[in-house]
Each structure stands twice: as structure tokens, then as C-alpha cells.
């Protein structure tokens, strides 16, 4: 009874103190940025992060670097690759096979533990992911990293600052693949008893931020690395704090209460009230799309280009934008408008129901012979935006031109498996499309994986079993064009074919929305899944 009385006393004391002190008055050090993430856990801290794009954003490009990085310095121009820990790189001009790449590494770069970054460290990191019998091989990091670098065959240090990578076949997209691979410190791993669990608590990379506190599932804190090799990216803040807040309303409440200064992905219905309360809503286009991936299995109605074009012309994308409180960019292609690989497709994704009906009639469908299609959708999922109302909107649009849509609603995790299995697998139930949002940041994830013949599911992720020798030829050209500017032109040709052949039902792109306290200054939202936190300041 005495204990209960004491506890009650404490509770009352806390309530009393609370009423006299507002939460927002809690003093934090100047220049501390607290971010409410959508992830339910702190991303893997050992180097190769988990939790997809969000993991790399917060724990990859903060604590670590790749040989090649993404340029995150502009919100206007398309985000492209930039030299990272490799100051220069390219395929060896003397190699007729075009498979030998030489990377000149940046000299004088130190890991957070003080050890030097060298070519041997790069080899050690590749072994960490690819060599199962290496002492430092880490299953968890390998699971994340191995599939990102399919081109890498062999690798070796030529000297302290020169690295050689030989690809399995000529592949000019190698730099994009390497932008996924983060470099952990071999010396720190040795020092911590060659133990990745210990390393997770005291990680060491070369990045602009050093991790100082890691409470699993609750909190991570970072401070600037004043010795960062890229002086333009030395953080201005005193501290960066990451908090996992997977529930959208909890994130909004935390922002409103002043518990965080920044939240990822505010719920669309909270946007207006946040704006009215003077919070900043930051949006930009980035390489994401929300599509229906169409089945090209025998008998699929989408094998007829007229049907594909009709469906694309039947979508009222501006109407959908209203539905989502403006938080979408209507699709003009598979890539967002303004993307460096967009090109000049001739098929315009306008809203033209009359033309859609005409095309369907030409394809043999009409009031007497309606087209019925079945589509797999999920009720939620990473990057899926608001899939239920959006799909119902599409269903209504398509019904208006004579396409009757039936949905198979499945759990998101199950949907990923169905997507991996492919349209011909029984798991897909003979459905004609799957509503899947895509990370489309590099040539492989953006274009190659969806439509290359060799990557038909389940071998790869060409879910619809599309196969066109002309497309394969273009993809081969991408892999064999080693001049970056020339390569962009080829990638544009691939994208033009995507759009002109209406290979997907292209609906929208997410806006990468985040809400910020008015105190947050200097954030430049790059057109990228990853972001740079170095130029940010937070007013007192």
C-alpha cells in the first residue's frame, strides 16, 4: 500500500509539474534537428542499410559514403551521380572487353575512428557482402547489398589508392550500382572484436555524420564529422536525432507538439491544417512512380496497344490530384516530368475519354462486349501512397470508357511475393495487372528490371513477362554506352518506348512530402530518394 501511495504521489507530482511547464519549452541545444521517420526501427547502422530508400537516406548517406554518391545539392536540376570516395573512375580504355574499371580513390580520407580509407578497405567491404567465407562476411548486409551490384565480377586493390573492378559482362551502369554500396571501417570492426553487433552500436564510416547514440527502435543521434572530406558538406547543425514514428497521426502530433522538427510523409488530410499552423510543407518530384504493371501473358487484354493507350487516356490525373490534396505529380510518362531520362515521347498522357472509347472500339470492345480486367491491389504498403481510394478512382475512370475493373486486394507483404513470382504464377490468380509503386532512381531499378526478357519472373522482376527484342537491344545499348552523356540519350530512347508503347498504366508520382517546423532553415530537397542534411540549420 505504501508503494502504491508513493507511486500515486509521483504521478500527481508529475502532473503538477507538467501543468506549469509547457512541453515545447524544453530546452534543446541550438541547431538540433529531430526527425520523425516513417520506419518502425532505426535503419541498420553497420553500413549497408535496410528499410529501403528511407534507410539509405537517414543511415546510409549520413554516416557513410559510397565510391560514387548521388548529387543532392540542388532542388531544381535532376539529381545525378557524383564522385564520392572515388575521385574519378571509368572503364579502362586499354580493355577491349570493356569490363575492367579503374577507380582512383580520394586520398587522405579517414573513417570516424581515425583509420585511413584505402583500396584495401574497399576490397574488404566487397568481401563483406560477396564473399561468404570472409571473416567479415555479414549475412544481413549481404542481403541488402549483394543484389545491388549484379555486375561486379572480381575486384582488387592495385595500389593504396587505386581499385580495379572487372564486371561479369560489359555494363556501363556499374557506377549507379556502386552508389548503393556504403563503406564501413575495417579497423573499427577489428577493434570491436570482429563483431557486427558491437559495430552496430559504434559504427564508423567516412560520412558527414557520426553516430553517437543508438537505442534500437527508439532513437539515434548523430553529430557532425568536422573532418569530412567534402568541406561543402560538413553539417551546420549541432545534432541530428532520428525517431521512428510509423503511425502517421503520431508523427503529425509530435510535430505539432514540438517534439520533432521534421516529419516524413505527413498524412494528406493533415496537410492543410499543418500549413495553416505555419509549418512548412516541402515537396519535389523524385524518381518514384505509381503504376499498374500490366500482364503480357498470353490472353491478356493488355497485349493490344490500343487497349493500353485507351486506359492511359481514360485516367483523370488532375482529378486524382484533388483527391490527394495536391500531393501527387500527374504522370506524363514512366519517369516524372523533367527527369533527365524523360526524352520526348510522342504519346501524350492526357485525359481524353472520347479517344479512349474510340481506341477500345477499334480493339473490338464496346457496350455489347465490355472489357473486364482483374487487378491485384494492396490496402497499404511502402510507396503505395493511398492505394484504395486511388484505385477506386481509376476503377471509376476506366468504367466510364467501358473497362470494368475487378480488384483482388492482398496484404502488402503478400503482394511483394506475388510481384516476385510473376503474372504466370498461380499466386497472381490470372490477374491482368498489379498495382505497384516503383523506386526508379537508377537504370536497373528504373527501366531494365521491369521489361528485360531475361528478367521474366521469377528469375527477375519482369512481372508481366513482357519481351520485345527491340527493348532488349536498347537495354544492351544502355549497358554498352560508357560515355555518361551518350548513355543518357539511350536511356531517353528506352523511356520513349515505355511511353509510346504505353507499356504501363502510368498514373502518378509521389511528391516526397515532408512537413518541417518553421525553425528549420536551409533544406534543399533534391529530386532524389536520399537527401543531404548538411546545409540545414534550426533556429533557437
Amino acid at each position: 500500500m505504501l508503494r502504491i501511495t508513493k507511486a500515486a504521489g509521483l504521478l500527481i507530482a508529475a502532473l503538477t509539474i507538467t501543468t506549469g511547464q509547457t512541453f515545447t519549452s524544453k530546452a534543446f541545444a541550438a541547431g538540433t534537428l529531430r526527425i520523425g521517420m516513417t520506419a518502425s526501427d532505426i535503419p541498420l547502422t553497420t553500413g549497408q542499410t535496410d528499410q529501403g530508400g528511407e534507410g539509405m537516406r537517414f543511415m546510409g548517406y549520413t554516416v557513410y559514403d559510397g565510391l560514387v554518391n548521388w548529387d543532392l545539392s540542388s532542388s531544381d536540376k535532376p539529381s545525378d551521380l557524383t564522385p564520392g570516395l572515388a575521385s574519378s573512375y571509368g572503364v579502362d580504355p586499354a580493355d577491349a572487353n570493356k569490363t575492367r574499371w579503374i577507380f582512383k580513390l580520394r586520398e587522405g580520407v579517414k573513417f570516424h575512428d581515425g583509420s585511413e580509407f584505402t583500396a584495401e578497405a574497399v576490397v574488404w567491404n566487397f568481401d563483406k557482402l560477396l564473399k561468404n567465407d570472409a571473416p567479415q562476411f555479414d549475412q544481413r548486409q549481404s542481403a541488402q547489398g549483394r543484389s545491388r551490384i549484379p555486375a561486379v565480377g572480381t575486384y582488387k586493390a592495385i595500389d593504396k589508392y587505386t581499385l580495379e573492378i572487372v564486371t561479369k559482362t560489359p555494363d556501363a551502369t556499374l557506377p549507379y550500382q556502386l552508389a548503393w554500396i556504403m563503406m564501413s571501417s575495417p579497423a573499427q570492426w577489428e577493434k570491436l572484436g570482429k563483431n557486427w553487433d558491437a559495430f552496430a552500436k559504434e559504427p564508423s564510416g567516412t560520412g558527414p555524420w557520426k553516430l553517437t547514440l543508438f537505442v534500437p527502435r527508439e532513437r539515434a543521434e548523430m553529430v557532425p564529422n568536422p573532418d569530412y572530406w567534402d568541406k561543402a558538406r560538413v553539417p551546420k547543425l549541432d545534432k541530428l536525432v532520428l525517431l521512428p514514428l510509423p503511425e502517421a497521426n503520431a508523427r503529425v502530433a509530435a510535430l505539432r507538439a514540438g517534439q520533432v522538427d521534421w516529419i516524413e510523409a505527413p498524412a494528406p488530410d493533415a496537410v492543410e491544417s499543418l500549413k495553416k499552423a505555419n509549418f512548412q510543407l516541402v515537396v519535389n518530384s523524385y524518381p518514384h512512380n505509381w503504376t499498374w504493371h500490366l500482364s503480357r501473358a498470353p490472353g491478356s487484354p493488355w497485349n493490344d496497344i490500343r487497349v493500353r493507350k485507351a486506359a492511359n487516356l481514360a485516367i483523370d490525373r488532375d482529378g486524382m490530384k484533388e483527391l490527394l490534396s495536391g500531393l501527387m505529380i500527374p504522370a506524363e510518362g514512366f519517369f516524372p516530368p523533367g527527369h533527365q531520362w524523360f526524352g520526348k515521347p510522342t504519346f501524350k498522357l492526357k485525359y481524353d475519354p472520347a479517344e479512349a472509347k474510340k481506341l477500345l472500339a477499334e480493339a473490338g470492345y464496346g457496350p455489347n462486349k465490355p472489357l473486364v480486367v482483374k487487378t491485384l491491389i494492396s490496402a497499404s504498403g511502402s510507396g503505395q501512397m493511398s492505394p484504395l481510394p486511388m484505385n477506386e478512382f481509376i476503377q471509376q475512370n476506366l468504367a466510364e470508357v467501358g473497362i470494368k475493373v475487378e480488384f483482388d486486394v492482398v496484404d502488402w507483404n503478400q503482394m511483394i511475393n506475388i510481384w516476385r513470382a510473376g503474372a504466370l504464377d498461380p499466386a497472381s490468380k490470372g490477374d491482368h495487372a498489379i498495382n505497384f509503386s516503383y523506386f526508379i532512381q537508377d537504370p536497373f531499378t528504373g527501366l531494365v528490371r521491369h521489361l528485360q526478357c531475361d528478367l521474366k519472373a521469377p528469375k527477375g522482376t519482369n512481372w508481366g513477362h513482357y519481351c520485345d527484342p527491340e527493348m532488349d537491344k536498347l537495354i544492351d545499348e544502355v549497358k554498352n554506352t560508357f560515355d555518361p552523356k551518350e548513355q543518357i540519350l539511350v536511356l531517353q530512347k528506352v523511356h520513349e518506348k515505355y511511353v509510346n508503347d504505353a507499356l504501363f498504366l502510368m498514373v502518378t508520382h509521389d511528391t516526397n512530402a515532408r512537413a518541417l517546423s518553421p525553425k528549420v532553415k536551409g533544406f534543399v530537397q533534391a529530386k532524389n530518394w536520399f537527401q543531404d542534411f548538411s546545409p540545414i540549420t534550426v533556429d533557437k
Binding site: A143, Q259, P458, G460
Partner: protein, 317 residues
Amino acid sequence: MLLYILKRIVYVTPVALGVSIFCFLLVHLAPGDPLTAIMPVDATAAQQAEMRAAYGFDKPLPIQYGIWLWKVFHGDLGNSIATGRPVLSEVSRAVGNSFILASVATLIGFTFGTFFGFVAGYFRDSVLDKIASAVAVLGVSVPHYWLGIVMVIIFSATLGWLPPTGAGPDGSGNWRPDPEHLRYIILPAITMSVIPMGIISRTVRALVADILAQEFVQALRAKGLSEWGVFKHVVTNAAPTALAVMGLQLGYLLGGSILIETVFAWPGTGFLLNAAIFQRDLPLLQGTILVLAMFFVMLNLVVDVLQTTLDPRIQRG
């Protein structure tokens, strides 16, 4: 009594085994793939197969169960697929946090529930009874998820008095019952206490009213026993049933609440379960459910023994 306790422990063994089979199979019945949590979505089939073998998911279910149970007997719940951390440490930390939250919610819920129940029972059909009953019905009826959001809107977003999420200014690592940390617990604890408060209040009210109407109470009063003396008799007679209900409620509270802990980002078992379910983190899911289920089994055992101690007549055969 000792024999009775031993018998009850023996009875618990098959229940525990059944619970372990149920925990293991249940998570395997759910659609989805645990490897989704740890591999990029476009990992090739060969890489998935390699990873499946590395985590032992390529083995038949009975063998997987056998391996898992063997490890459980040795105090090893395996490692989380999503985080790589030992499940035991993840669950221990979460159970500790849920325990803190549940303790405060218990204090609030049981105290007010018992108080309202006695008031309503003693002053049956009076205004006090109606008010106390209304509070109890409200407690049972209002969805606590909704109540939590409303409280966050009022006390955090609008008034800025209390923090809406988390377990403390620096996480739950160094939790201690000081005002700084208690501020974080107030909203989730009140939200969590509402349902047990309502249930206990209604139970106690019915018990008190029933006991007061019995002839032995009239006899006690006729003998000239003071109201305090009668009250003590009422308490003694109401205790076994009230205790059983409280035990069950305590179990629910200690088991954590997925909804409340998610709304308030409280790092307890509910928050952990939510993450494990969404990530299909099978070892974490199995481990957490097993620990919680075993907790319920043990709690029921304790309540049974306690009830029997208070009233030997209800000893089970």
C-alpha cells in the same frame, strides 16, 4: 495446498506446449515472406533461395519447430530477422517498458475502478451510482485508440503540456520514475487504464450490491457491527471474484496494447508486435507471442493459487 500448487504447475506444462505449437504455426499461416524484411524487393530468386537456406526457412515446418523449441528450452528465442538482434533482448526490453506503462495504468485503472465500483454499489440507484456507472460504461465503450488520439490533440498538439510520443527525452534506455520521464507516461497510461477501470468498476459494483443484499450483512448489522466492520466483510467477500477480474485485466495490461503503444510510440511489446507483424519478422513474432502467452499462463496460475488461498472452497479438483 503445496500439493495443489504442484498439481496446477503440472497442468500448466501441456498448456505451455500447446501454446508454443500455436505460436509457431500461427505466424507461419499468415501470408507473406519473412525475407521481405531483409532483402530488397528485386532480389533475384537465387538470392532469395540462398537467404531462405541461411535462415533455415527451407526446412520442413516440423523440423523448424523442433529446432526452435530446442533453442527455447535453452533460453534462446533466436535472432530477429529484421534487426539481427537477439529476440530475448528485444522482448525483455519491450516487456520492461510495457511493465512500466502497465504499472501506472494499473494504478490508475484499479484505484479508480474499485473506488467507482464501491461508491456505485453502496449508493445503488442514487445520483452517485448513475455518475459512477456512466463513467464505467464510457470507459468500456470508448475505443481507447480514439481516446488516445483525442488526448494527444488536446494535451500535446493544442495545449503543449505533455509529449505525445516516446518513453522519455532520451528513449527508454535510462528510464527512471522522475518527473521528466513520468510526463511521457501520463497520456498512454490514462488511455490504457480506461477499459480496466470500466470493467473493474462494473464488476465491483455488482459484487458490492449483491453482497450488501445478502442476509448475513443484515445479520451483522442487526448484531450492531459498525459500518466499517460491515465494509470489511464486504471487501473480504468481494475480493476473490474482483481479484480474478483484476488478474485478467492485469494480464491484458502487461501484454501491452498494439494500438496504444503505436499511437504513442511507446516501445513496449505492442509496439514490438506491430513492427514484427508488418515486417513478417517470424522469430521476433514467435518469441514475443510466446513470452506474452506464457506470461498469461503463469498469471492465471498465480491468480488460481491466490484465489484458493483466500477461499479454499474454490480449490479445483
